[in-house]
């Protein structure tokens, strides 16, 4: 048999994020979408999944828990509250969770930076969209010279900020700031988010400011930034420098733009695309290791 082996995965949540994940998983060589579950049988996501021939249910995670052949990995694209309510049950069933909510039960993971440390964790958290876009750059600096302070400004199109983000905007700034410290390696982190309603919608843009603890070789720092951009591009092709980085002695400014792949979400919504792309990347790395170890889903 020449059929490639794949790991079975599931999606909880049939909103924009869950639906975009579905299209990304379709392209994967190592992931097989087993099911998509949600709470609204009339949701666009569940309908699309059913049309594409995937198993669907409006019984949410209960359906996965009761399933005779549950997936090995689930993506949780619901809410922090929902994730906190069901992550333990998933874990007890031996199902790995990739958490795209702000629940942050598991370690913060940014694939370009620290997936190698956490791929085997039963629960990993994808931080925030702003975190996925900026933490690699903070790390690109902190691996060359210690970073005393890392600050990011994420500007996203108003249309790409859903009601969940809007109702809990502090969660974004606080979680991203912690990610800049824990994963990016800055001693102190700060995050700012700006919503811009311009029409046509603006592409996600991020500015990363780092204050370094000492001097550095600008050429070495520039190489580190370029290398990190390439690493992120492996799973987010639309990730790029928006302008020349500015090195002002111990103050570094890096400008990033993220164009989405336009799977289910429009291309300007790079903020949503980088979350789903990072989550799928994390699942693929885990899947490859599981396949190598011979423990298929």
């Amino acid at each position: 048999m020449s059929v490639p082996e794949k790991v079975r995965v599931g999606i909880i949540g049939s909103g924009n994020i869950g639906t975009d994940l579905m299209y990304k998983i379709q392209r994967s060589e190592v992931l097989e979408l087993a099911m998509m579950v949600g709470i609204d049988p009339e949701s666009e996501g569940l309908k699309r999944a059913a049309r594409l021939g995937y198993e669907t249910s409006a019984d949410s995670y209960q359906y996965i828990l009761n399933h005779p052949n549950p997936p090995a990995i689930v993506f949780d694209a619901t809410s922090a509250k929902a994730h906190l309510a069901h992550y333990k049950a998933l874990q007890e069933k031996g199902i790995r969770a990739i958490d795209l909510t702000p629940a942050a039960v598991g370690p913060y993971v940014c694939p370009a930076v620290n997936l190698g440390e956490h791929w085997d964790a039963m629960n990993i958290n994808m931080i925030t969209c702003g975190g996925q876009a900026t933490i690699p750059m903070v790390k690109a600096v902190s691996r060359v010279v210690p970073v005393e302070y890392g600050e990011i400004v994420a500007t996203i199109a108003s249309l790409s900020a859903g009601p969940g983000t809007r109702a809990n905007i502090d969660e974004f700034t606080q979680t991203t700031a912690r990610g800049i410290e824990l994963v990016g390696g800055a001693k102190r982190g700060k995050a700012i988010i700006i919503l811009n309603p311009a029409s046509p919608p603006i592409m996600m843009r991020n500015t990363v400011f780092c204050h370094t603890a000492g001097d550095y070789d600008p050429a070495e720092l520039r190489r580190s930034i370029d290398d990190m951009v390439k690493t992120v591009q492996e799973y987010v092709p639309g990730y790029r420098l928006r302008a020349e980085p500015i090195f002002d002695q111990r103050r570094v400014s890096i400008f990033i733009e993220v164009e989405g792949r336009g799977d289910f979400l429009p291309k300007y919504a790079g903020n949503l695309d980088i979350m789903t792309s990072a989550a799928v990347q994390a699942a693929e790395v885990t899947a490859r290791r599981l396949l190598e170890a011979g423990t298929r889903g």
């Binding site: 302070y149 600050e151 400004v153 500007t155 108003s158 009601p163 809007r166 109702a167 809990n168 905007i169 502090d170 974004f172 700034t173 606080q174 700060k190 700012i192 988010i193 700006i194 919503l195 811009n196 309603p197 311009a198 843009r205 500015t207 400011f209 204050h211 928006r242 302008a243 020349e244 500015i246 103050r251 400014s253 400008f255």
Partner: protein, 338 residues
């Protein structure tokens, strides 16, 4: 007949923070608050220019932590209420807790005029914790009055006590102000306020127009010390409102003395309408971009006015100071390509 009361909030120690690149000292804050409080100014706002938690590389670091300035301000007050500003996306409820612990009684929650729904958690927290909530719909020249009312209704539903039409760019003409304020006054049951910038020389006139349309709260900054070409000058506003027959509770001479003795010595330069601040109003961009555009203009050898006009063309909103660096770089590259 009893005179109509209009509440003036002095924002010298918040909007003025932009004009001094957030370098206020504790002594300056004490002196200004003392002067304003003794003159009967009912509300005094103290915060980083971009609100609580605004101290940053993007907007400028505060010389003195906000907590210290707030405590100092509170200590000097005998009758005035202490207000703080917060921009969701920059400051958090944690910052708001800190401010309330320092004695802030009023919070002003500001969002871009189309993004009212990011203010719900901050308004809800403040109301639950006994604070008076004033909200700001910033850059209100960018949308029409009907759209502005829809956004204002969201803030009212979260519990706002007063909603301000904020002319952050100082870009509105008196008729623009009248249309927005009257639409909100008609469509809301809470109070309506107006916050001006003087970039087109209309701050006092626009504020008067807003009051005529029913605004019951307005902002000023003493000596006009605010972002861009400053705000409605509080001591001028108080005198104009007295002449126009409104009650503000402010002692004009004491306020003028405070302006001369406590604020004028702080001015880093006269707050005037020069070519750059005029361009802020003309282009319709956020007033606090002024100093950042000047700095970038110098660094990249371009004209600050070109940066500001381009920021307007790109439909930038408040808080996008980082885009100034990109625009300046691009303008410099374009010029060297020619």
């Amino acid at each position: 007949m009893q005179k109509r009361y209009v509440r003036i909030t002095d924002t010298t120690l918040r909007d003025g923070s932009h004009a001094v690149a957030h370098q206020f000292t504790e002594e300056q804050v004490r002196a200004v608050v003392r002067g304003l409080d003794r003159a009967g100014v009912p509300v005094i706002e103290v915060s980083h220019g971009d609100g609580l938690g605004g101290s940053s590389q993007n907007y400028g670091f505060s010389r003195v932590p906000e907590e210290r300035l707030l405590r100092a301000a509170k200590e000097e007050m005998t009758q005035a209420k202490l207000a703080v500003l917060i921009l969701p996306g920059i400051g958090t409820v944690e910052d708001l807790k800190m401010a309330r612990d320092c004695g802030a009684e009023i919070v002003r929650v500001a969002t871009h005029c189309t993004e009212a729904d990011i203010s719900e958690e901050h308004i809800t927290w403040a109301k639950k914790n006994g604070m008076e909530v004033v909200t700001f719909l910033m850059m209100s020249h960018m949308i029409d009055p009907k759209y502005l009312l829809e956004e204002a209704r969201k803030m009212e539903s979260y519990g706002a006590d007063c909603i301000y039409v904020v002319d952050s760019a100082g870009a509105q003409l008196p008729d623009d102000v009248r249309a927005r304020v009257s639409t909100l006054v008609e469509g809301l049951s809470c109070q309506v306020g107006f916050h001006a910038h003087n970039n087109l020389g209309l701050a006092i006139g626009n504020t008067l127009a807003a009051i005529e349309e029913g605004a019951s709260q307005v902002d000023g900054s003493t000596c006009g010390l605010g972002a861009g070409a400053g705000n409605a000058q509080t001591e001028v506003l108080a005198a104009v409102l007295a002449k126009a027959g409104y009650e503000t509770g402010i002692d004009l001479w004491k306020l003028q003395d405070a302006a001369e003795e406590a604020v004028r010595p702080i001015l880093p330069r006269p707050i005037i309408i020069d070519k750059d601040s005029l361009t802020v109003g003309y282009a319709g961009v956020y007033s606090s971009f002024l100093l950042h555009a000047r700095q970038a203009a110098e660094k990249f050898g371009v004209d600050a006015r070109d940066i500001l006009m381009e920021m307007g063309r790109r439909k930038s909103v408040g808080g996008q100071e980082d885009l100034i660096l990109i625009v300046a770089q691009e303008l410099a590259a374009e010029r060297s390509a020619k």
